[in-house]
Amino acid sequence: MTNENRDAAAQGPLHVVACIDGSEAALAVCDYAAWACKRMGAPLMLLHVLDEEKYPAPTDLTGSIGLGSREQLQEELVSLDQERSKLALKHGHVLLDEAEKRVLADGVEKAAKRQRHDELASSLAGLESESQLFVMGLHGESSAAAGRHVGSQLETVIRSVHRPILVVPDQFVPPRSVMLAFDGSATAFRSVELLSATPVFKGIPLHLVLVGADTAEHQEQLKRAQHLLSAQGPDIRLAIRDGDVEQALHAYQEEHDIDILIMGAYGHSRIRQFLVGSTTTRMLETANKPLVILR
C-alpha cells in the first residue's frame, strides 16, 4: 500500500486503464471500465497497443548481395515498417475514437487516449505507476479468430502485471453481486485488504466463499474477513463449500447468480507463481462472467 500511496503522490490520480483492440469484447471493455471509473471516481485511460511482432517478413530469395545491399535492404525494411506502422496507427486512432465515444456515452466525462508500440504485457507493466486497475477482454482480437477460448495475451499479462485486472466477457451486464474466492491464507487476507481499500464494489452484495472443510478455524477466518470488509456495506454473506475449487466456485456462482468473481493470482511456490496458479488458469478458461484477478 505504501508503494501505491507514493505512486499516487508522485503521479496524481491513478487511472483505470481499458485495453482496447479490434475485437468484439472492446465495447464491453469500454462499458466495464466506464462503470469502474464512475464508481471509483478515477480518471479513465484508453490504451491501444500496436503489437508489431505479428507482421510477416518480406521474402526475396535471390540470395545475392551486391553494391550497397545492406543500405538498400535497410531502407526497404524501414519504409515497409513505416507504411505498416502508419496504417496500424491510423487503425488505432479509429479504435480509440470509437472507444472514446462509447465511454462518453456511458457517462464518463473524459478519457485519456494512449497508443504504444510494444507487447501488451510490457506496456501495462510500464503503466503500473499511474494506474490502479486494468480492464481487458477475455477474448482478444487474435484468439477470436483462432477459436481459442482465452485471449493469447491474458496469461502473460496476469503473470507480469502487479495491479488488479478486471477480465470481462463480450457483453456488458451491470454488476449486481460480487463474490470473493477465499481460502483463509495470508495471501487471501491480502486480497481482502485490497478489496476493502477500493470503493468500486461498495454497496453491492458481497459473497465470501471458502472452498474447503467446514471447520471452526475456517469459520473464524471468514468472520475476520467479514469484519475487515465491513466498510463495503452491510450485505456480506459467508459460505463454505466442499469439493474441487473450480467446480465449487462455479456452482456457487450459478446458484446465487453472481456477476463478478474476485480471486487472487498468488501462487505458494515459485513454480506455481510461474503458472499463475492453476486454479486461476482454469477459472479463466471456463469463465463467462467478469473476473477480477488481484495481484
Binding site: E53, K54, P56, A57, P58, T59, D60, L61, T62, G63, S64, I65, G66, L67, G68, S69, R70, E71, L73, Q74, L77, V78, D81, S152, T156, F274
Partner: protein, 495 residues
C-alpha cells in the same frame, strides 16, 4: 516461456524455412572456400558450419543472425594449421569456445560501446578486402578458362535476379554454381575443382577429442591463436548483431551471444570443425530472404549437412571458379560502399580511424589488431577534441595586487600542457588566485599540472590561493557517486 519460444522460433515459419534454405545454399560454397583459406579439408569447414549454425540457433542471443565458419576466423588459423596441423586447430577451437564463454560471463559484450562507428566500418571493409584477396591465388597462374568462368559466374549472380518471376524465386549464387559445374563437366575443362582441394564429408560428423598431448607446451602453442580467434569472433558477432538489430528494429542479448558463440565453437571443435562466428554477409542474405527467428539458422545448418551428404558426388565437381565468383559477391556485398562516399563528408579524424583500421588489418591479416589500432586512435582523437574544451580567464586587481585565473572546462592529460601555458609566471604579483570551481580535473596528470603551477608561482614569491579544488577533482575518483545521487550529473555540469 512458451510464448517466447513461439516468438523466437515459430512466429515466421514460412519465411524462416525459405531463408534457411537460401542461406544453406550460400553457406556451402563459403564453408568450402574458407576451409581452403585456412588450409584444411573442405569437410572441416562444412562440419563447422553445420554444428555452429545448429548450436547457435539454440544458445545464441540474436535470433535471425547466421553463424558458421567464417573468413575472418579462417585467416587467423593459417599458420597454426601449416606448422602444427589440424589437431591443434581443433584444440585451439575448443579453447576459443571456453574463452568466449568466459567473456560472456564477464559481460565483455558491453565493451562494444568503445568500438566507434568508423572502426566498425573499417572492420567490415577490411574483412571484405581480405575475403577478396583470399580469392587471388585461384586467379593467378591459371588458364583463361578460369577468368571466363569467374566473369560468367558473376554475370549470372547479378543478372539472374533481373529475370521476371524465376529470378525472384531461385537463389542466383546457386544457379551460378549449377551452370558452371555443368559447363565444366560437359566441356571437360582443365580447371581446378573442389575435389582437388581435399576431402569432403561422407558421413555425419562424429564426436572426437582432438589428438594433442595435454601439456603446457600445447597450451602455449594454441593460446595466442585462441585469443585472437576469441577476439575476432566476438567482434564480428557483435558487429553483425548490431547490423541485424538495425535491419529488424529489434534488440539482442550480447552477453548471451558471447556465451552462445563459445558453446557453438566447443561443439564445432568436438565434431572436427574449425572455429567460426557470426557472418555479416549471410545474415544480410537471411534477413533479405525473410528469415527472422532462430529457426532460420537451424534450418540453414541442417539443410547444409543434408545437401552435402546427398550431393557429395556433385560437390567435388564444382569448379573453383564458381566458388571464386560467389566469394567475390560476398566481398562486394560485405564492403560498405557508402563509406567511400562518406569520406568526403566525414571529418578527417573519423576517416583516419577507418582507413587505419583497414590498413592494419590488411597488413597483418588479423582483424583484432586493426580494431585495436582503430579504437586507440579514436580514443586519442576524442581526448584531443575534449582537451580543446578548456579555457583559462585571467583578471588583475590593482588594489590588492592580485592576479585571478579562472579555469573553465576539462583538465586532463590531453589539456594539461595548455593549462600550464595559460599562466604567466613572469608577472610579478603578490597574490595569485586560481579559481577551479568551474573546471573538472579528470586525472592525476591534471593535479600534477596544478601542483607544478602552484610551485612555480611560489618560487616567484607570490602567495597562491586555490579555490574549488574539491569540487573540480570529484571527477578523478574512478566511480564518482553518480549512481547513488540522482542529481550528481547535473551538479557536476552546473558548477
Amino acid at each position: 516461456m512458451l510464448s517466447s519460444i513461439r516468438n523466437t522460433w515459430f512466429s515466421n515459419v514460412r519465411g524462416d524455412l525459405l531463408a534457411g534454405i537460401v542461406v544453406a545454399l550460400a553457406l556451402i560454397p563459403e564453408a568450402i572456400a574458407f576451409s581452403i583459406i585456412a588450409g584444411v579439408d573442405p569437410k572441416v569447414g562444412l562440419y563447422a558450419s553445420f554444428c555452429i549454425a545448429v548450436v547457435i540457433s539454440f544458445v545464441g542471443g540474436r535470433p535471425g543472425m547466421i553463424s558458421a565458419a567464417t573468413g575472418a576466423m579462417a585467416l587467423l588459423m593459417v599458420t597454426l594449421v601449416k606448422e602444427h596441423g589440424l589437431e591443434y586447430l581443433l584444440a585451439a577451437t575448443l579453447l576459443t569456445g571456453l574463452l568466449q564463454i568466459l567473456a560472456g560471463y564477464l559481460k565483455l559484450g558491453s565493451l562494444m560501446r568503445f568500438v566507434s562507428r568508423s572502426v566498425v566500418t573499417g572492420f567490415v571493409n577490411a574483412l571484405a578486402i581480405l575475403i577478396f584477396m583470399a580469392q587471388l591465388p585461384e586467379l593467378t597462374n591459371v588458364t583463361w578458362h578460369v577468368y571466363v568462368m569467374t566473369a560468367g559466374g558473376l554475370g549470372i549472380i547479378y543478372l539472374f535476379p533481373l529475370i521476371p518471376v524465376i529470378g525472384r524465386i531461385l537463389p542466383s549464387p546457386l544457379i551460378c554454381i549449377v551452370v558452371l559445374t555443368g559447363l565444366a563437366m560437359y566441356l571437360n575443362l582443365p580447371i581446378r575443382t573442389v575435389g582437388d582441394m581435399g576431402q569432403l564429408p561422407d558421413t555425419l560428423p562424429i564426436f572426437l577429442w582432438p589428438d594433442v598431448p595435454l601439456t603446457l607446451e600445447t597450451l602455449m602453442i594454441i593460446l595466442p591463436y585462441a585469443v585472437a580467434l576469441t577476439v575476432v569472433g566476438l567482434l564480428e558477432s557483435m558487429m553483425t548483431a548490431t547490423i541485424v538489430d538495425d535491419l529488424t528494429d529489434t534488440t539482442s542479448d550480447r552477453n548471451r551471444e558471447c556465451k552462445g558463440q563459445g558453446i557453438a565453437n566447443i561443439g564445432s571443435g568436438l565434431l572436427g570443425g574449425m572455429a567460426g562466428c557470426a557472418m555479416i554477409g549471410q545474415s544480410i542474405i537471411n534477413i533479405k530472404s525473410g528469415g527472422r527467428t532462430r529457426l532460420s539458422c537451424m534450418v540453414a545448418g541442417v539443410f547444409l549437412l543434408v545437401m552435402v551428404l546427398v550431393l557429395d558426388q556433385w560437390l567435388v565437381q564444382i569448379p573453383m571458379a564458381a566458388l571464386v565468383a560467389v566469394m567475390i559477391m560476398v566481398s562486394i556485398g560485405t564492403f560498405s560502399w557508402g563509406s567511400i562516399k562518406n569520406l568526403r563528408e566525414h571529418p578527417l579524424s573519423t576517416n583516419i580511424v577507418m582507413v587505419v583500421t583497414v590498413i592494419v588489418v590488411v597488413a597483418t591479416h588479423n582483424l583484432a589488431f586493426g580494431v585495436l589500432a582503430g579504437v586507440l586512435l579514436a580514443a586519442l582523437f576524442f581526448a584531443n577534441k575534449v582537451g580543446q574544451y578548456m579555457l583559462v580567464k585571467s583578471d588583475f586587481d590593482d588594489e590588492t595586487d592580485t592576479r585571478t585565473y579562472t579555469v573553465i572546462g576539462q583538465v586532463f592529460f590531453s589539456s594539461s600542457e595548455k593549462f600550464i601555458e595559460a599562466f604567466d609566471f613572469k608577472e610579478a604579483t603578490d597574490n595569485v588566485v586560481i579559481d577551479l570551481s568551474r573546471a573538472h580535473f579528470w586525472d592525476i596528470t591534471a593535479v600534477a599540472a596544478l601542483d607544478k603551477a602552484v610551485v612555480k608561482f611560489r618560487r616567484e614569491g607570490a602567495d597562491v590561493e586555490v579555490i574549488g579544488l574539491n569540487e573540480a577533482s570529484a571527477t578523478i575518483v574512478d566511480r564518482f557517486g553518480v549512481h547513488d545521487k540522482p542529481d550528481a550529473v547535473e551538479r557536476l555540469m552546473a558548477h
